[in-house]
Symmetry: C2
Subunit: 315 residues, 2 copies
Amino acid sequence: MSSFPSNVVIREVGLRDGLQSIQTMLPTERKIEWIGDAYAAGQREIEVGSYVPAKLLPQLADTAELVAYAKTLPGLLVSVLVPNLKGAERAIESQADLMLVPLSASHAHSLANLRKTPDEVIAEVARIRAARDSAGSKTLIEGGIGTAFGCTIQGAVDQAAVLRCMQGLLDAGADRVSIADTVGYGGPAAVRELFGKARALAGEKFWCGHFHDTRGLALANVFAALETGVARFDATLAGIGGCPHAPGASGNASSEDLAFMLADMGIATGIDIPRLLLLREKVAQWLSSETLHGALWLSGLPKTFAHASTATLNA
Amino acid sequence: MSSFPSNVVIREVGLRDGLQSIQTMLPTERKIEWIGDAYAAGQREIEVGSYVPAKLLPQLADTAELVAYAKTLPGLLVSVLVPNLKGAERAIESQADLMLVPLSASHAHSLANLRKTPDEVIAEVARIRAARDSAGSKTLIEGGIGTAFGCTIQGAVDQAAVLRCMQGLLDAGADRVSIADTVGYGGPAAVRELFGKARALAGEKFWCGHFHDTRGLALANVFAALETGVARFDATLAGIGGCPHAPGASGNASSEDLAFMLADMGIATGIDIPRLLLLREKVAQWLSSETLHGALWLSGLPKTFAHASTATLNA
């Protein structure tokens, strides 16, 4: 049986994927507090927002301000989502460390969500790469392939289509590629198969998995992905998240439950789980009218759980 | 990477592990309806109750009646829990197909829950085996090793202790052995390791895993166990369950979510998921004051989900 990566990054996407799909508008100062606390709890990669028109997603209109703040935290990799060249120009200008360009492997979902075909998104990535290079910018470009396990509009999505998109993104100049189960259609056997193929295709450039817990399989899917050597996963604190164009999709993998699973497996994440649970309590108060998810906040850590910084916190 | 079993049994333990740990007392006719509907949905192994003194668990006092009914359903393997020789004599008399004798690998939990040390339980299994054989009975004896990944009273439990108990149960004449994460302390890496060792020790006699979803890891744990070749899992409809002597333990793996995960993996369970979801709706009404669990009942099956009997149900 396969071994696991010794270190795994949990990329916090609650401020983007989470906040864009719930009703509550979180004020900028709360988001800054969230980013600061997540950093203090050991999180070192955070997707702070999205450079989309403010009229489309007013709750993410403060993304530039959040990038500016996040950039002051040493060693934090600051990501943003950009839907197109215009967004990418803002990401480059604000010196974000990474910009994620979403692509839907489902043609129907792509048209509904992005108003572009997958090939048009790939062409846009080529333009983004040219703009990045001509600006002398170091902002990494990640092509994120969504609806990779199926879609609520189109239904089935072939693995071949996902891999074709991945090759197209790499050819267009993406530095990194990732796979997302946008609507929670994937199970661990399918994940193991597709992620294995993606690793064979893209090697280390395939670096992140993004799972929604719509049918309770997010953590099983992470486990299956770990076996293929993938060592970075998107997650949202308290499992908030979803997709407005994918009805029924609700809740990313929860950051705190994922951190616990990895710690229990002996995999280092750098996260101080008790501290992350304190942040969860705070965010739960801010989002008191929302349905939150996750199990660890309710059960607490096992009596057997040893954590380096627990003593510090209790002192 | 490992292959998976082609067929897996989901053993429904909601009528025992579930109902013993919630407040609602379910009338016998409801339980009979539950068993009948579960059978109609394709479930072929059901733990219908427990032969413990009625004053200890009044909600399971009708176990003999349930065994009698369940025995009328062709091909159904009818299980009961028995804590001791006295319970085993009732199981033998009622011609249950299998009796599960619980043992706690945690010494402290064993004393608190069973008022016996693990070695005393093993000695009791030897007496049960003698009684079964001298009665000419065919009732199988399963030794179920609980708190195998740690315990809320004692804390850590060594894998060596679990395996020592397993060997003791086999030596005492248990026909089958199984492992339970009674309080949801286990993660998938630990499961893979311990279940691998248990298979090496007991071969096909190690036949069942029992996971609580206390920290959201039940399905990831099942996936890890599947990789070791184990092909039978306890689960409860709507994830009801827990352990009165293990504070914080709440909810088994949910039968319907597990059935979906296995179906998505291409593993046959014989379960008609839409029909099982109808039963879940019914049980949720009966248990309307209880906290239920699971994800599939809320999200529904994916658009891509093909199931042989869906057409029949919709017709």
